[in-house]
Symmetry: C2
Subunit: 209 residues, 2 copies
């Protein structure tokens, strides 16, 4: 219970839900988290650093990682591989860090299947109208892109039940959302299913008295 | 999600774990809780008030409550009935209050069976030695009473897995324990299984956009 392993936490949410901002704040506000860093075969962009934004790999290196089962999950987008290296995640977990994985719905469900102990959190605005407003207010997306994002959100909403927790990210209430995410992960550490070692110890200890 | 019903929370723990102190502090520190008041046929003690410590009932009244299914659970100890009146609990829950029920292990399991939505929290000292120390330090119990309590604790420890959360109450760390109990109940409100209404609303809302 006290020397518990960290919790593998998967965070998803609609594009425009504000996940990125929430996670950035979570990681600066609390020190028990480590953000999982993905590996990718896409070329680094201006300002990106190997081991910070991504682990940049050649296609050959990446396929070797797949073959050696060194990835928790991977997928291909626009002819590039993206994946989550297992070693880094396991190292952080065993040091007691709660590892945060920001990942889309399909990937999240794959992770839950493979790691039933993973904690799945879904971040959402309080309404579809608010989501649309945020996507529109960015001012960077063409109307048809906003429409496409809204359709994707409608599709993704069908998977919300598969998540353990649903957390609202309301307008101008970032800290509240960040603290809720933190609260949910903290509480999860006290779950009896995660405290088997302590329960066994306590049973033995009481027998001995 | 926002106008959610309260959560029926059952709290158990070994005699000497400090449950009473934790609950008293929880109820003064946070205002979203209501403590369930038991009904009993035992006579009021000096200073006890009807509707505060207990609802005092005659045996006839109590058996009428049983017959009318007006109790969440009941049991008999030393020839007196003790039980949890349903009406008060449901009224508080529908007002959004999280209702706390302090109850022993057998009763807690009965409640979980009948109300699968109930949240079960087990409060425990960090070790058997610490439990014994607390029971002994009270200075009010004869050694054989302490021994009997320790045997009861050993028996009860077999049911810890049935609880949803295990929360440690460490020496001189009352506030930490109180805040953990509060954190666990707060987090539970964001459970997707408790947010079905919001999820359905969000799905419909996104379809409409």
């Amino acid at each position: 219970m006290n020397e518990q392993k960290g919790i593998l936490t998967v965070i998803s949410g609609f594009s425009g839900a504000g996940k990125g901002t929430v996670l950035k704040r979570l990681l600066t506000k609390y020190d028990n988290y480590a953000l999982s860093i993905s590996a990718t075969t896409r070329a680094p962009r201006e300002g990106e650093e190997n081991g910070r934004e991504y682990f940049f790999k050649t296609r050959e290196e990446f396929e070797k990682m797949i073959a050696k089962d060194e990835l928790i999950e991977y997928a291909m987008y626009v002819n590039n591989y993206y994946g989550t290296p297992k070693a880094y995640v396991q190292e952080q977990l065993s040091q007691g860090k709660d590892v945060i994985l920001e990942i889309e719905v399909q990937g999240a469900l794959k992770i839950k299947e493979r790691f039933p102990d993973a904690l799945l959190i879904f971040i959402t605005p309080p309404s579809a109208g608010e989501l649309k407003r945020r996507l529109t207010d960015r001012g960077t997306e063409a109307p048809e892109v906003v429409e496409e994002r809204m359709r994707t959100a409608a599709r993704e909403s069908g998977f919300m039940e598969a998540y353990d927790y649903i957390i609202l990210n309301e307008r101008d209430r970032l800290e509240e959302c960040v603290d809720k995410v933190h609260g949910v992960i903290s509480a999860e550490h006290a779950r009896s299913t995660r405290s088997q070692a302590f329960i066994e110890h306590m049973k033995e200890d009481l027998k001995g008295e």
